[in-house]
Amino acid sequence: MFRHILYKLLRWIPSVLVVILVVYALLFFGAGDPIRLMFLRMPGDVAWNPERIAAMRHELGLDRTFLAQFTEYIWNLLHGNLGNSLLYQRSVNDMVKVAAPVSIQLALAAMVIMAILGIPLGVVAAVYKNSWVDHLIEGTALAFWAIPTYVAGPLLVIFLVRGLKLMSVPYGWEGLFSPKAIIPLIVLSLRPIAIIIRQSRSAVLEVMGEDYIRTARAKGISNYLVMSRHILRPVLTPIVTSLGLVIANMIQGNILLEVVFGIPGLGRLVAVSTIDADYPVVLAVVLIGSFLVMGTNLAVDILYPILDPRVRQTQVGGES
């Protein structure tokens, strides 16, 4: 089994390298000159002095060839150094260290909410299929799913702050357990909950229609056992897969959320850096994002054989 994981990791590394290369190249050749952008930000009386520009360029190493810069980047990467922000001359590592925990906290909290609320609701909807309970749950899930983050956010704010006057405007970040985090957390969880509800419901429905459930009932065992053992176990596999997918997606749902609510996490970091063409920062976040996506996929892959005995022996080679 470890061979399988190792195999997957090995296949992943070249892909990541290509991704880094492509993204780096895209930004390098396309994004426009960061020096120029830097200058555009400076106060108006700073002169556009070509010598100073050239000197700056040289100092930042931006006048070397693509290959030289890229190699240095990779080299630094292997040492755990994500480079320096072009605009702020700070270590990207530092920037990430500050921003990452915020995003991670939010994401983890949302994950917990999503699992605790979403799975049971989906199961309930499936068990009471086609009743008003089912329609209510499904309808709500659909509504949650369809509303974009940046719509739900402001709407909720209008509703809760101006309408019901429950709290003040949540802009900025004061920690996970502060009132400012409530609305962003709700908004972040909306779509994931919706997806989990629908997936759970459909997984349970599919299992419920299987022949072996009929056999289980024919044996005269209690309904509770049928649900908790015969239905729940096979259902875990698709649900865990969905959880994995949703988590991977949450990594980016964060971006809009953080921008809207002014939360200083990785999402806002990358949004701002992209507009500024500050590509070491952008690259760093893209890398982290890909890592997380791959990590979740890997975790799901590892869990699979544990959840579904049918998969256990046939692990030689990957799927294509």
Binding site: K219, G220, R233, P234, P309
Partner: protein, 330 residues
Amino acid sequence: MTVLLDVKHLQTRFKSRKRYIHAVNDVSFQVHEGEALGVVGESGCGKSVTMLSLLKLLPPAARIEQGEAIFNGDDLLQMNSEQIRKVRGAQIGMIFQDPMSSLNPVINIGTQLSEPLRAHLKMSKADAWERSVQLLDMVGIPEPRARLSDYPHQLSGGMRQRVMIAMGLACKPKILIADEPTTALDVTIQAQIVDLVKDLREELHTTIIWITHDLSLIAGLVDRIMVMYAGYIVEEALVDDLYTDPRHPYTIGLFGSLPDLGGQQRRLTTIGGAPPNLEAIPTCCPFVPRCKYAIDKCKIENPPIKPISGSGESLHSIACWVDIRDRREA
């Protein structure tokens, strides 16, 4: 012989979107203690649905419209879910067609076998496990103890079906309903399973109801056969009588389509036409469109099932207006 199960006027329908499918129409029969009853008919004739109705194992779209099924003095169809749960597995067991899809793929054999034991006989986990070893041995599975930790996909088709049989008989029910248990298996395995059931029947004195579409299979197994068509019972007889003297046009058609190993080579005959549309209950006999012997009366009224004249107490009944001995061809 005592009557274990007495079914009267059972009618079951399925609702699908706006239509109704009349799967079982006015079915009445009795099952006697110790006998082996075969139920024969083509796909869709209602044989499975009849038995599933008795144990209330139907999908949500189905409704039992009327009927009663007296077992042990109680009407099964009137029972609530807790009462019927106690009957299932303990008094009446049922095994199904495809053992791969009928066994839970993510739970091991031992647990699945132990479940009815613990639910009905209140055995402890350890006791149930032990008993499961004996059960597997009883159905002829080698190395039974090791097999308990296996999962269904690790066993062959024949072994899986044996496990199903063991599960069905675990609590020694009075009746075992076998719904086409051999249809999904190889011919050689089929024979083994049939033999196994015969042996177990003798050993445990279980009453067997065996559903199949394969007439040749059950000849050596059952005492009596019910032939079903379009949700009705069209002929009922002792095995020998049915095979030597079939009276209903449908039964004759079924036998005509069986290849004959010993006798003369002849073209296999088929029953012309197509299976009936169950969306409407015809007022006429449902077999009319395909019947070579139909007379005018058949197109007007649906014949009730009656013992044939001169049969005395031989239990041979048909649902037909025509006595085919008088007519070869209409």
